[in-house]
């Protein structure tokens, strides 16, 4: 993107440019902060914006500008994209829409006709689009990948990725890398065999697939007992990150199936609960790092990997940071997957420590039993799919965290295709009050710099900006602005329903907006008129 174009985009107020989204623009997304071009704001997944019109000194005058109603109940989990004055979002039940980002008025709406009996463990949700050229890409609950025309919402192509009747669904936003879109499948509660796919943005043709559970003859296959690999799970249901210099895609994987019962899938169960580094062109595995081998507590490792270049032990290093559901904040070398450090960022009882090679030292007695075993973190993890944010000004990672321990029970369960396959059940430990927090962590030391307490476990991620502020929210429906350095709550507004998404920011006509869904509404805020 040239400087001239950037300026032009800034100046576009009444008439959006509707320019093409090029690969170059996505690579340089942080240089056009008026837009939000990809799920995490940039390939390095900082969910950070250089916009600073809304800042620590004026956040108290934030005012609702418009509210868009999706027309559906259920969790509204989208991260909208904003491209040259138009906001593109996905909704519950695979709805989608394009809005005038200044007024909230709809330009088009799309609703996919879904078959009955979709097996989506955690709601009929979708987390957003990817965009390239004049197209938007969505991965659907019935396991299709589709391309829509940006101006009309018309379907351009529609391809089948997997069989939804066997429990395969898509809930995450795709990632555009060069001429491909990358998507990962969900279904770890239904005994699927997970995969990460790449499709041609032009034709929808599948270019490669990486099976997250290795088949016979492939490396790692021997980490599965008998035929357990066939229903081994390891879904890849969130959006990864990309390093263009290394041409590597970083994509996290989820739990082995059944999640609570491991007696019939003895072994490390590769590549469940791992970070995968895949060659963007071929899908070949460059390296992997498994956070929680032979998981028994649903500690998916799908959380968004954050790519940061910082000195580590005196030398510049290409780092990958992940606040993992298992309660540890990890630092890896993203060139080779080498483990550097893991520090607990919440209460952890399942592991005594992470050893020098990155392998957990599992605490005796932490495995689920028939009667139930209390373990921390609980199954929803110390954090979950909602995004963290990395602020280069404070060099802090903001992580919405859950404070919950669960009682995990285990029992054998027969696999039936398309039925849940969990191996019993878990739930909050009896008599204990659950809670949550927004936490500011130094990713290099693991040190907690501040914490703002939430009443219950959150499902809203973080957005940090050059205004010295962090946006977050809670499951009681409060959308909140924090001082990035101190954690002081500067402003909040009750939106009337739990927030299940992570905020974004953009600007139109020189005015900065911040957008967040809650309930059936997508809310946009800006500073009030002076």
């Amino acid at each position: 993107m040239t400087l001239r174009k950037t300026t032009a985009a800034f100046l576009a107020c009444a008439i959006p440019l509707l320019a093409q989204v090029t690969v170059e623009r996505i690579l340089n997304a942080p240089k056009e902060p008026q837009n939000w071009l990809t799920y995490s704001g940039s390939y390095r997944s900082w969910r950070y914006s250089t916009l600073d019109q809304i800042n620590a000194s004026n956040a108290t005058s934030l005012t609702a500008q418009w509210i868009f109603q999706s027309g559906s109940l259920g969790q509204f989990e989208t991260t909208p994209l904003v491209i040259d004055g138009v906001l593109y979002g996905t909704g519950q039940d695979n709805r989608a829409f394009a809005l005038d980002a200044r007024t909230g008025r709809a330009i088009w709406r799309y609703q996919r006709s879904l078959p009955d009996k979709i097996q989506a463990c955690c709601g009929m949700v979708n987390r957003g689009f990817a965009a390239l050229g004049d197209r938007l890409f969505m991965a659907t609950l019935d396991a299709h990948v589709i391309a829509l025309d940006r101006k009309t919402g018309n379907v351009v192509w529609d391809v089948t990725a997997a069989d939804y009747r066997a429990g395969y669904v898509f809930t995450g936003a795709p990632l555009v890398v060069k001429d491909k879109i990358i998507v990962g499948v969900a279904g770890g509660e239904y005994g699927v065999r997970g995969f990460v796919d790449a499709y041609s943005t032009e034709t929808g043709k599948r270019v490669w697939r990486f099976n997250t559970v290795p088949g016979p003859g492939e490396p790692g296959h021997d980490t599965w007992q008998g035929d357990s690999w066939k229903t081994g799970g390891a879904p890849a249901w969130l959006t990864g990150s990309y390093d263009p210099e290394l041409n590597l895609i970083y994509w996290g994987t989820g739990n082995p199936s059944p999640s609570d019962y491991g007696e019939e899938r003895k072994g490390d169960n590769l590549y469940s609960n791992s970070m995968l580094a895949l060659d963007a062109d071929t899908g070949k595995l460059k390296w992997y790092f498994q956070f929680t081998p032979h998981d028994l507590h649903d500690y998916d490792s799908t959380q968004v990997p954050v790519l940061v270049d910082e000195d580590w032990q005196g030398k510049p290093r290409k780092l990958l940071i992940q606040a993992n559901r298992n309660g540890f904040l990890y630092l890896l070398d993203r060139t080779n997957g080498k483990f550097l450090q893991a520090k607990a960022f919440g209460e952890v009882t399942w592991a005594k420590e992470i050893d020098a090679h990155g392998r957990p030292v599992v605490a005796p007695g932490s495995a689920p039993t028939l009667e139930g075993t209390r373990t921390c973190p609980g199954a929803l993890g110390a954090t979950n799919w909602f995004s963290p944010s990395y602020d280069p000004q404070t060099k802090l990672l903001y992580v919405a965290s859950s404070i919950e321990c669960d009682t995990f029970s285990a029992a054998p369960q027969k696999y039936h295709e398309g039925h849940d396959f969990i191996g019993s059940v878990y739930g909050p430990a009896k008599g204990e009050k659950t809670a949550g927090a927004m936490r500011a962590l130094d990713p290099l030391t693991g040190e907690k710099k501040w914490e703002f307490p939430y009443f219950s476990p959150p499902w809203c991620g973080a957005l940090s900006t050059a205004g010295g502020i962090v946006f977050g929210g809670d499951s009681e429906g409060n959308f909140i602005v924090f001082d990035a350095r101190t954690g002081k709550d500067l402003w909040h507004m009750q939106l009337g329903a739990a927030i299940y998404s992570s905020p974004i920011t953009y600007s139109v006509g020189g005015r900065q907006y911040v957008a967040i869904p809650a309930g059936a509404g997508l809310f946009a805020f800006a500073l009030g008129d002076k």
Binding site: K117, I422, G427
Partner: protein, 272 residues
């Protein structure tokens, strides 16, 4: 991925049979079916009915042989497959064989002893509204206080063992309160004792009807609602115990307990 499973409550409110009267469970007493039913129950039903089917926060005890919507195989089949309209019991997309396995499992649990028996309902009612002051906090069909759970249907929803435990050891398992329908993974508030202290030093004790990071809506011992901002409070303490006193044998004799239980068991929500 976090799972909040489909729950299957089996005897909550009034239902009807739709031509299922002839159905008989082909696998009653079959050990394999009971085992499969147990596994299905844990994964699907236990979030509401409890791991051992003795009742959870939302679903009733299924071990006591009291089937509000009919106790025949066909009636229970109907309740599981179609749910109970107007209650929290949803329809469940099980295959027929799975429902029969579930029923076989539930039948294998039934028949828990129902001691103590022989209490007097009228005496129990007198105790409830009189000497034992239960109605100070609990309401039955519009009569009584607001602080504790409404007990108009408690006899239909809870086993006698549970009722006895709730009287003798009320803090052992706190009853659940407000469920936010817009918070899909939310855990309901419970009847936990909350103490707050205002900036002026005023202390209030009660239960939270709702609460978030910034405010609390407290129903206090004075039976009044106190709508408070946390910035005006110096302390908000969750005590993780019930406000209800534990009724020892000195406060409530074994005979009085029998009468009170007889009264509570008679409360089935008729006329509501």
């Amino acid at each position: 991925m976090r799972v909040f499973l489909v729950f299957c409550c089996v005897n909550v409110a009034t239902g009807c049979l739709l031509g299922q009267a002839e159905k008989k469970n082909p696998v009653t007493g079959d050990a394999t079916a009971i085992r499969e039913g147990s596994s299905l129950f844990r994964a699907n039903c236990s979030p509401c009915h409890g791991l051992d089917a003795r009742g959870g926060g939302r679903g009733p005890d299924l071990t006591v042989g009291r089937w509000i919507h009919g106790g025949s195989d066909a009636a229970i089949f109907q309740t599981i497959s179609q749910g109970v309209p107007g209650t929290e019991m949803p329809a469940n997309p099980f295959e027929d064989s799975e429902i029969w396995a579930l029923i076989a499992y539930l039948r294998s649990l039934a028949g828990a002893p129902q001691a103590p028996a022989g209490g007097d309902v009228t005496t129990g009612e007198r105790l409830f509204f009189g000497k034992e002051k239960c109605a100070t906090c609990h309401m039955v069909k519009g009569r009584g206080g607001h602080l504790g759970p409404d007990l108009s249907r408690v006899g239909a929803a809870r086993s006698i063992a549970y009722l006895i435990e709730s009287i003798r050891e009320p803090s052992k398992e706190l009853s659940l309160g407000y469920i936010d329908p817009n918070n899909h993974y939310g855990i309901p508030l419970d009847y936990d004792t909350v103490t707050v202290v205002t900036a002026e030093g005023k202390r209030l004790v009660g239960v939270a009807k709702d609460e978030d990071a910034f405010s609390i809506q407290l129903l206090a011992e004075d039976d009044e609602l106190h709508l408070l901002l946390k910035k005006d409070l110096t302390e908000v303490r969750h005590e993780r115990r019930s406000l209800m006193p534990a009724y020892s044998t000195e406060m409530l004799s074994a005979g009085e307990l029998r009468d009170l239980i007889a009264y509570l068991s008679s409360l089935r929500g008729e006329g509501l």
